[in-house]
Structure formats: structure tokens, C-alpha cells
Symmetry: C2
Subunit: 109 residues, 2 copies
DNA sequence: ATTTTATATTGCAATATTACGATCTATATA
DNA sequence: TATATAGATCGTAATATTGCAATATAAAAT
């Protein structure tokens, strides 16, 4: 099928998996790291730095934008993408709760 | 294509995205939450609880196992799956570093 | 030895993702 | 106004993912 049965899961489970999916690609991690380091971002730079075609990078940026992880504003000719603080904090919170709920090793395995 | 160009990214970027990909499905999040809560897991329970076919759940468990996130030992007739502490800690560390490198809002967007 | 129980594997159909060339759009500059 | 520049969108090919029925496997109980 290729179609996730979202309706049988909770809102939280679907939201978290959507955010994780947006992060789950090396190019998108690289893009985010680049934004995090420079605290700003112009798509053109990424094309030179990452070694992917301009259309491909634009598509990855779109996915990050759709997930709400980044936001962009027009800056003259180019577009400045940066982290969306609200989503980033949400991600930190949700993931922190999820990962933090592991209480160490069990006896069974 | 559908084929990620892994060779142009760093080992860290590829590793983190692989782990995130394994987590990026509501069913796999639900499975992990179930393991985290009960500190043990038997596949059969999940089939009843999640509303997915047994084959589908077995497949999700396999993906989590392949990513090293869970491990399973044979327990009589059934198999006991639980968190792999090493990978979980790695994930916490890598993700913590990644998410934590965001230093608050910028002036540009 | 046969049957039951629990889980894995196989095969397949539907859909999603990744990547890129080509093209379109909008702004800035000559 | 024409042209250059930055980025988005479209179309398409290749591959991956999701889900399940059917079947296989392996241990336990009868």
C-alpha cells in the first residue's frame, strides 16, 4: 500500500512521526546544521555546498517548511530560511519526553 | 530515483537520519511507547492493541531491530523485545547535540 | 507424532520518496 | 524595457515504504 493508517494512532504519535520524518534524511540534517551554524541560510549556498541539484534542495527545503521546522522570508532576490522556534521547542519537548521515558535496562532481554 | 545519495554526507549525518527514519512512523512510535511503559514486549499483544495485521507489526519490529533500537530474545514460544540501551543512549546524545545546537531566535526571519 | 501457538517471511499492490532537467516566476539591475 | 539572478514548480524515472494475505518455521502442549 505505502499508505500509513494514521487514523488508528493518537494525535501525538502522528505529530511526532511527521516531525521525525521531516528530519530523517541526511540532506535535511545537513541543511539544518548549516542553518544552525550560520544562524541564517540562503538556498544558493546550499546548492554549492551539498552537491545536490538546486531543484532537489528546494524540494528538501519545502519539506522542512511544510513540517514547520523552518520558515523563510524574502530578502531581496534571495530567500532567507531559518529555524521556526516554536516547532523546534515542540520537537525538543516531545522527543525529550519520549526518549526520557526509558528508565534503563530491563532483566528480560 | 528514490535513492538517497548517502556518499555525499558525513557518517554522522547518515547515522542520525537512519535512526530517525526508523522512529518516523506512528506504529513504530506506538510500539516503542508500549515497550517503554511495560518494560517488556510480546509481539502478540501489539497485534491486539494496535489494530494492524500481525505481518505488518512483525515488519515494523524488524525495522526497529535492524536499526538497533530494539533487541529480542526468545522467551519460550514468544519473543521478548526490549530497548537496546546502547543505541538509545546514542540517539539521546546525537539528537541532544543536534537539537541543542539551536541558540534561539535570529533577527533575519 | 500431531496439533496448537507465536512469530517470521514471502509476494504483491498501492502509494511515497528521492533526484534532476526543464521551465516558470519574481525581483533587481543594466 | 530587456536581462540576469534566485528560487519554486512540473514532469518523470527509479527506488522505497506500507500493509496484508498466505505461507513458513519453530517451540510447546497434547
Amino acid at each position: 500500500m505505502g499508505l500509513t493508517k494514521s487514523e488508528i494512532f493518537t494525535k501525538e504519535q502522528n505529530e511526532l512521526s511527521t516531525l521525525l520524518k521531516a528530519l530523517a534524511h541526511p540532506a535535511r540534517i545537513a541543511i539544518l546544521q548549516r542553518i544552525l551554524i550560520s544562524n541564517t541560510c540562503i538556498c544558493g549556498d546550499l546548492v554549492e555546498e551539498l552537491g545536490l541539484a538546486q531543484a532537489t534542495i528546494s524540494q528538501h527545503l519545502k519539506e522542512l517548511k511544510n513540517a514547520g521546522i523552518i520558515q523563510g522570508t524574502i530578502e531581496g532576490v534571495s530567500i532567507c530560511y531559518c529555524i521556526n522556534p516554536t516547532t523546534w521547542r515542540l520537537l525538543e519537548k516531545q522527543l525529550g519526553a519520549f526518549l526520557g521515558s526509558y528508565k534503563g535496562e530491563t532483566t528480560c532481554c
